[in-house]
């Protein structure tokens, strides 16, 4: 029998004990004594969220292909378990071997969203690893972070030994080889960290000094050790088909959020929405071949027994072989007890036809993401979706039997006026009117149309043209939401319309962490010590704790959120070369101010800078 880190009594007294057991289908079991490197991979949120993340499964599979590495998983213990572990002084452990994390060589965190940062401190704390990199001893694991939030790692700088900027598939082999080499020569932990800092894409915060001007902005950001690079270049997989994918995804016993086979069809996006960080940092767009995807679809369904397969990408409709792929999946698997779940596709004749084959039209709804209510504002954000396209799609859908529509918007964008806000209600109303105009009463089956509009609040992110934007205050966000809500009440068909908006406190905090610098780390630590944890879970988020922490640390929220940034300001993340150049982002910021649309990568190259990676859409027709 496998030994477990926790006693029966503990496991029987917490919610969902399966979060802490491991032993799932396809979990990799190795003899820890047979490997040179033990790597604990952490998604700092609850198991069911972490196990739904594709990137972690990709790296888990890739690392474990090496005989000399054993990669295991670890997640944030839920508050009930957190309490037990602190009370009983139990160290956090990895799921596979159930061994304590502090015995590992590496502890890697995937950084997917800012609001999980306190959970990183929780994982370090429960593992018995000093929170600050400078306090760690020879036997502590090397703590490394990667993922989208690593594009501005500064608010986390004191807590990490290393950050990996870019896609994990590229440099981890080099890191592992280097680790073994230095260990063989008798080198110590700090030798490894310093050597790793010279691998392309690797950033070791301790080797950089930051000085600030009197106004609080950065004066200089420079390496403090010879041989450490000034710029860190993001690492990307140039040819997607060369990258290893997952043959045997781990299949949880628990029903997790993403409980299906996920096929990543491409990385990157051609669209250039000006608010979107992913669309910029994953440039250029790189596709998988159809053959590659067919192979993995077979393998993964066979090896998991999942009853559903879905596609993953930033904009699936742009995938060159989408029709062939979707038809293949339907022909091959539909009718064999496998559901095909489609990601949000552009609504057109093709996608409606496909959806009618794989979904129950009566039960499903259509989703559009106009992101802004007026055409002017959609031009500002460079969202190439027009009212005409939306109404045409909705019309076709209504004729196809759908009567539920979801519309996603974002409030608080740069240049947004009352008219733009009210446009959200007006557009929703137009969609509803269209239904009643086009579908005769006898064909409605006694049903009304349902239009649900939701708005989130806009947070400016690094490496986007909006990185210079002034963010709204909490009150401004809420005022804008009330304006929209009020407008909805004036609509003729308001009984068919519904409007929801997100929480504003959390958005403000996300704004601070997204564009924060090293000084924000103190606030994070203070908030954690005061009890902040699982901040992305509304039932656990406590804004008062955070506000106190800002107060205690003397850190001004507005400096990071509502302040106007000048075009020549040095940003905390400027030391990273993400491919897209600052010049391009400035150009796009100016285009946004003039509501000028920039064509997508396939229409015309806009010279964003991502061409230097020598692959993907930049070279599509030039091979």
């Amino acid at each position: 029998m496998r030994k477990l880190a926790l006693s029966d009594e503990i496991l029987l007294s917490v919610q969902q004990p399966a979060r802490y057991l491991g032993n799932e289908m396809n979990a990799v079991m190795k003899d820890p004594d047979s490997v040179d490197i033990r790597f604990a991979m952490c998604f700092p949120d609850v198991y069911e969220i972490g196990m739904s993340h594709l990137g972690m499964q990709i790296l888990y599979a890739m690392f474990n292909k090496r005989d000399d590495v054993y990669c295991e998983r670890v997640f944030s213990p839920w508050p009930d378990m957190d309490e037990v572990m602190r009370k009983e002084h139990i160290h956090l452990f990895a799921l596979e071997s159930q061994d304590p994390i502090h015995e590992f060589d590496f502890l890697g965190f995937t950084l997917q969203y800012e609001m999980c940062y306190t959970n990183i401190l929780q994982v370090l704390d429960l593992s018995g690893i000093p929170l600050h990199a400078e306090d760690r001893k020879e036997n502590d694991p090397i703590v490394i972070g990667g993922g989208p939030c690593a594009y501005n790692p500064e608010p986390l700088a004191p807590f990490f030994d290393l950050f990996y900027i870019g896609e994990g598939e590229v440099q981890y082999d080099a890191i592992f080889d280097l680790y073994k080499e230095i260990r063989r020569k008798g080198g110590n932990r700090s030798d490894i960290i310093e050597a790793a800092a010279k691998i392309p894409g690797i950033y070791a915060p301790a080797f950089y000094d930051v000085t600030y001007k009197e106004d609080g902005t950065i004066e200089s950001f420079k390496p403090n050790t010879p041989g450490i690079p000034e710029k860190i270049t993001k690492q990307i997989v140039v040819n997607m088909d060369d990258a290893p994918y997952i043959e045997k995804p781990v299949v949880p016993f628990l029903k997790v959020t993403q409980d299906r086979v996920v096929l990543e069809i491409q990385r990157g996006c051609i669209r250039g929405c000006r608010f979107c960080q992913a669309g910029n940092v994953y440039r250029p767009l790189r596709e998988h071949s159809l053959e590659y995807l067919k192979h993995y679809a077979y393998e993964m369904l066979k090896n998991t027994g999942h009853e559903e397969i879905t596609l993953s990408s930033l904009s699936s409709s742009d995938y060159s072989h989408l029709k062939e792929l979707v038809n293949f999946l339907i022909d091959e698997f539909h009718g064999k007890g496998v559901n095909i779940s489609l990601p949000s596709l552009r609504i057109d004749a093709f996608s409606l036809d496909v959806m009618s084959k794989v979904q129950d039209v009566k039960k499903s709804s259509l989703t559009f993401a106009p992101e802004a209510g007026s055409q002017k504002q959609r031009d500002v954000i460079n969202k190439g979706l027009t009212e005409e396209i939306i109404l045409k799609g909705a019309s076709e859908a209504f004729h196809g039997g759908w009567n539920r529509v979801k519309l996603y918007f974002m409030l608080g964008q740069p240049t947004e006026t009352v008219e733009d806000m009210e446009g959200i209600a007006l557009l929703s109303e137009k969609v509803a009117e269209l239904y009643y105009d086009e579908i005769p009463k006898d064909q409605r089956n006694g049903k009304k149309v349902q239009v649900v509009a939701s708005s989130s609040f806009f947070v400016p992110k690094p490496f986007t043209p909006f990185q210079w934007a002034k963010m709204c205050t909490k009150d401004e966000f809420l005022e804008r939401a009330y304006i929209v809500k009020h407008k909805f009440r004036e609509m003729l068909n308001f009984k068919s319309l519904k409007y929801n908006y997100h929480e504003a406190d959390l958005t403000v905090l996300e704004g601070v962490l997204a564009r924060g610098d090293r000084r924000v780390a103190d606030v994070l630590e203070e908030a954690y010590h005061k009890g902040a944890l699982f901040d992305s879970w509304s039932e656990y988020f406590r804004n008062d704790i955070w506000m106190e922490a800002f107060e205690t640390c003397g850190v001004d929220i507005d400096f990071y959120t509502t302040r106007e940034r000048s075009l020549d300001e040095i940003f905390p993340w400027d030391f990273i070369d993400a491919g897209v150049t600052k010049e391009f982002l400035k150009r796009e910021w100016k285009n946004a101010m003039n509501a000028k649309v920039t064509p997508n990568c396939r229409e015309r190259c806009s010279g964003c800078g991502a061409r230097v990676f020598e692959g993907g859409v930049c070279f599509e027709h030039k091979n």
């Binding site: 029987l12 399966a18 057991l21 299949v251 009853e307």
Partner: protein, 224 residues
């Protein structure tokens, strides 16, 4: 495996069916599901050596081959012990379950101070004609006699207790309730973690002779 809840266990078996390429039947409609039913849900925290699940298949290999295929894709801690063909008119397992065997032991740190005294007391407690317990539901409390639901109780090696109790839709008795009733009668506490329980076997009543119990294993036949 004992910490995996019943619903998760069902999902696990559904995935196992697909991984082992069992030619299982599906319901029709937009979200087809496998025709599969468990005889009796096992509570979280219990182990078992005798669970039964009915499936409907379009075709099948021999029992031996199917066992090999299924067990090849199962995780450590779960194993299919037998695969048998039921007659087409067989009743659904869940509907015929009427009793089950359990083996109970005390978890380390929770053992009775004097095992002999505990066991002798339990055996004489069982000699009563009636054992009344208070059954609490959300709305009311009522007195129930559980003695008729206890078919057998005896001591086994290693300080273990064997229990055969009523299980199923007609009458159902949790094995821990028997020990709880006894402890209550002696005014002794029983921690919720005290007992380690293993289900050993599940029974149905014989159709023409309801007083005879036959194990579900005896239904159906080996596929050659």
């Amino acid at each position: 495996m004992k910490f995996i809840g019943h619903l998760d266990m069902m999902r696990y078996f559904q995935k196992i069916m697909r991984r082992a390429d069992v030619d299982i039947c599906y319901s029709t409609g937009f979200s087809p599901h496998q025709i599969m039913s468990f005889a009796s849900p096992l509570g979280v925290g219990m182990e078992s050596r005798g669970e039964y699940v009915d499936i409907e298949v379009k075709s099948t290999d021999s029992s031996e081959e199917m066992l090999r295929r299924i067990n090849e894709v199962m995780v450590d801690g779960s194993e299919v012990l037998s695969y048998r063909l039921l007659p087409d008119d067989a009743d659904n397992a869940m509907s015929i379950v009427s009793a089950a065997d359990y083996r109970l032991r005390f978890r380390e740190g929770y053992e009775p101070e004097d095992w002999r005294d505990f066991m002798d007391g339990l055996l004489s407690f069982m000699k009563q004609e009636q054992i009344l317990i208070i059954k609490k539901t959300k709305k009311s409390e009522k007195e129930v006699d559980i003695r008729p639901m206890i078919y057998e109780l005896h001591e086994e090696d290693d300080h273990a207790i064997f229990l055969k109790v009523a299980t199923g839709s007609a009458a159902n008795l949790k094995p821990s309730a028997v020990i709880q009733a006894y402890m209550d009668s002696r005014s002794l506490p029983l921690s919720e973690f005290a007992l380690m329980i293993t289900r050993l076997e599940i029974y149905a009543q014989k159709k023409d002779d309801p007083s005879t119990l036959i194990s579900l294993e005896e239904f159906g036949e080996e596929i050659k």
